[in-house]
């Protein structure tokens, strides 16, 4: 089928998923103790006031109605209003989105940059010296807690060298860019290990695949073999793994933002949770989920572009 | 006296209406007690499906199956299940990899209470003897056994329940030729010693000729011809049967070649 039709079809099939996510978030949040209306009104407000606010917030409606209203609201770009600041949730999220996206994307790209050559090298001679070293590094990498690596990065790199802001984004674009470096590196570290493992395994399987062996008997070798036969076929699984790891990367950014004090969605979520700001928490949760869904959609599209089998079976 | 197994007008099809595949088409077959019947045919002729239906693994869309005079439904009691057993084709997955040989056999004995609990171990030994396997094998797990050994265990497992009917579904197809011969001899011997009724499904005509007294030829889900083995092979009445016989490869200078 045509390219656009494929993308459109995929996107449409995700709509029920998004609606389900929305409902799930609302449902879970409704379990929370504490009365949102009371929270907005304040501890000393009279009952009547609390009741009025409850009505305003639609809290006296059954969940289905609130859900329907919320969906309509969201489609108009209104994610509700923060309890604490009274400002629109959407505004806050949008302001913080760039930081999170930058760190996450930079992190994933860095990870890919490191993963591909290392995995290829390791797969070239399995159980060889390079492979052993890379595998050990991989095992180590999996065990490192991201937030700790972030703090170590601050202690061992940011503080002594003074090149990078230790907290926050500093002033000016130059400082901003520098502030993104260490967090991205930390996020990259957190996801590289599983990616190397996966790509290495794929490459090894491919190396033994019959069509590659056939190519070698025909005289292909070295870089040409790599490029034309192995890498192209390694791409789809790589994309799938990258997409999965990118999902983890999003969490990595939450932790990294808190450690580095960056004004991103991650820190926003944590702060919102600690202040019991329901609409904010709800908004963040939904946006994060939408990001992940969008991520998988992109991964699917890239896969379809690279691998004709995906298009045909769709 | 009625036959041990009576299959009457059985039809089995899979899939829904328009895309339905009829695997077994209005088949009627009677199997006498103590006989050895060979069912031959190419892949897809419905042989396995027919037998699996007899065992209750499939449900027929039409027709009935009677065993020992009683009609068999979807739900069968333990006694009925015990009376008919099957040996399958693939030695690779025929035994539970997580269990030792002894434990697999013992389980059969225990669940069906074939012998009292104290006798189970001894009986396992007897079963292994029956299939000419060394006693130490009871401690082994399937991955240590060869294909032939696994099939012997599978036969022992089936015989553990002392069934009246034993169905061998391509039981030797996955084995090397010499090993095959060993298993076939075993089946012949067991038939003689225990009196079990045998049904052998095979695409190998020589096997059927060797082991069975009656042969049934199936094609596209239908029975094309049936009768005593010697007559069928010497003078087939159906052209398809003749084709099958002719198609079987023979070595130059063998007895078959000179017969033809």
């Amino acid at each position: 089928m045509g390219r656009y039709a494929f993308v459109a079809r995929r996107a449409i099939s995700l709509i029920p998923l998004l609606l389900g996510i929305l409902f799930l978030v609302m449902l879970l949040l409704s379990l929370a103790p504490g009365d949102p209306a009371r929270m907005v009104a304040g501890p000393r407000a009279p009952e009547a006031e609390v009741a009025r606010i409850a009505h305003e917030l639609g809290l006296d409606q059954p969940i289905w109605e609130r859900y329907a209203h919320y969906v309509v609201q969201i489609l108009q770009g209104d994610f509700g209003t923060s309890f604490k600041t009274g400002q629109p949730v959407a505004d806050q999220i949008v302001a913080q989105l760039p930081v999170t996206l930058t760190v996450a994307i930079a992190g994933v790209l860095l990870a890919l940059l490191v993963t591909v050559p290392l995995a290829v090298l390791a797969a070239k001679r399995p159980d060889g010296p390079a492979d052993h070293v890379i595998r050990v590094l991989g095992t180590l990498g999996i065990g490192l807690p991201t937030f700790w690596v972030a703090i170590m990065a601050i202690r061992l790199i940011a503080l002594p060298t003074g090149w990078f802001p230790v907290a926050g984004v500093g002033d000016g674009p130059g400082q901003y860019a520098l502030a993104m470096v260490l967090p991205s590196v930390v996020v990259a570290i957190s996801i590289t290990a599983p990616m190397i493992r996966s790509l290495r395994a794929t490459m090894i399987d491919l190396h033994e695949a019959e069509f590659v062996v056939a190519a070698r008997t025909l005289g292909f070798s070295g870089l040409a073999l790599l490029r034309q036969f192995q890498l192209r076929n390694a791409v789809p699984p790589l994309i799938t793994v990258t997409a999965a790891q990118a999902g983890y990367a999003l969490f990595g950014t939450v932790v990294v933002e808190v450690a580095f004090g960056l004004p991103g969605m991650g820190q926003g979520l944590v702060v919102a949770a600690s202040t019991r700001d329901f609409p904010l928490v709800q908004g963040y949760a939904i946006v994060f989920a939408v990001l992940v869904v969008a991520l998988y959609l992109i991964a699917d599209v890239i896969n379809a572009a690279v691998d004709p089998r995906v298009r045909i079976s769709a | 006296m009625s036959a041990l197994l009576e299959i009457e007008n059985v039809t089995v099809s899979f899939g829904r209406r328009k895309h339905a595949i009829t695997a077994v088409d209005n088949v009627t077959l009677h199997v006498e007690k103590g006989s050895a019947t060979g069912i031959v045919g190419e892949s897809g002729s419905g042989k396995s499906t027919l037998m699996r239906t007899v065992l209750g693994l499939n449900r027929p869309q039409a027709g009935s199956v009677r065993f020992r005079g009683a009609e068999l439904g979807a739900r069968r009691d333990l006694a009925t299940r015990r009376a008919m057993q099957m040996v399958f084709q693939d030695p690779g997955t025929t035994l539970n990899p997580a269990r030792t040989v002894g434990s697999t056999l013992a389980e059969m004995l225990r669940v069906h209470r074939v012998v009292p609990a104290e006798r189970v171990d001894a009986r396992v030994g007897e079963l292994l003897d029956l299939v000419h396997l060394p006693a130490e094998i009871r401690e082994a797990r399937p991955h240590r056994l060869s294909g032939g050994q696994k099939q012997r265990v599978a036969i022992a497992r089936a015989l553990a329940l002392e069934p009246e009917l034993l169905i061998a579904d391509e039981a030797t197809s996955a084995l090397d030729v010499i090993v095959q011969a060993g298993v076939l001899d075993l089946l012949a011997e067991l038939r003689a010693s225990t009196g079990v009724t045998l049904i052998c499904i095979s695409h190998d005509l020589d096997l059927v000729r060797y082991l069975c007294d009656t042969a049934v030829v199936m094609r596209h889900g239908r029975i094309v011809e049936q009768g005593p083995v010697a007559e069928l092979f010497a003078a087939p009445s159906d052209p398809y049967t003749a084709e099958l016989i002719a198609a079987a490869p023979t070595l130059p200078g063998s007895t078959e070649e000179s017969v033809r």
């Binding site: 929370a32 999996i142 065990g143 700790w148 600690s274 928490v281 | 025929t94």
Partner: protein
């Protein structure tokens, strides 16, 4: 590389378990005892790893934290495993509407960045061990269910299962004695990597403030509390972090060793 992995991994984990069991007896001080005067001091004879911002003995706190982190991480892995396996077996063996519903729900759950869902859950249920475990379970069962379901579907086709059914064994017996044991290998392999994840995630949640609250000693929250003092008393952040990493490594090595061994 295979032999050593198993022993190193098992050794590390064993050591931690031992430390956790013996902590009340080998910890030199009461982990909750504050001594503000002696706060933020480096290693000394009295306090081998120094004191934290409230003057509590770091070494004792790290030891006692093992009594929380270890069992909670273990439960955070076992509970989803049990739930997921049970669901996976039923879905794989019986199929039908149950399978369809469970798979749909798992699709939905998988779409979420796992942690975000957990944060929402912990937010809703309040901080503490109970909500953490509920969160891990609610999110973690999905992978196990899918894994087990796939294995069950494959195993259902095998001849030994058919033989069991032909022999008249009832569904419970077939499932428990023939199907489940053969799914264990895959499940175990994933379990160890899940343990690695559980240990680090637990610490991360406490670091963020969603998990185990102060004053209960927990490696992650200890790091969070010590972060402001990173220039003066770096040891307070470094040591708990190393402790987490080494434990995670232990599980990872065990997992690797198991994977290689079972392949043989």
């Amino acid at each position: 590389m295979k032999g050593p992995k198993l022993w190193i991994g098992a050794g590390v984990v064993g050591l931690y378990v031992l430390a956790a069991i013996l902590a009340p007896w080998i910890a030199p001080h009461d982990p909750l005892a504050q001594d503000v005067v002696a706060a933020l001091q480096g290693p000394s004879a009295a306090h081998l790893l120094g004191t934290d911002e409230l003057g509590r003995d770091q070494l004792s706190r790290i030891l006692m934290a093992a009594r929380i982190d270890l069992p909670v991480a273990a439960l955070a892995t076992l509970l989803p495993c049990l739930l997921g396996t049970a669901l996976g077996v039923i879905c794989g063996y019986f199929g039908g509407w149950f399978d369809a519903i469970v798979m749909r729900i798992s699709d939905l759950l998988q779409a979420f960045p796992m942690y975000i869902l957990m944060i929402v859950l912990v937010f809703s249920l309040g901080p503490g061990v109970r909500s953490l475990l509920i969160s891990f379970t609610a999110v973690g069962w999905v992978v196990y269910a899918r894994l087990v379901r796939a294995e069950v579907l494959r195993i259902r086709q095998t001849e030994y299962v058919t033989a069991a059914i032909t022999a008249g064994f009832g569904a419970p017996r077939v499932i428990v004695r023939h199907v489940l044991p053969n799914t264990l290998r895959q499940t175990l392999i994933y379990l160890t990597s899940d343990l690695v994840f559980a240990v680090t995630a637990l610490a991360a949640f406490s670091f963020l403030g969603f998990g185990i609250q102060q004053p209960t000693p927990e490696w992650g929250s200890m790091i969070a509390a010590a972060q402001p003092y990173i220039t003066t008393q770096a040891l307070l952040t470094v040591v708990p972090g190393l402790v987490i990493t080494v434990l995670a490594l232990g599980f990872a090595l065990l997992g690797d060793a198991l994977q290689e061994r079972k392949r043989a």
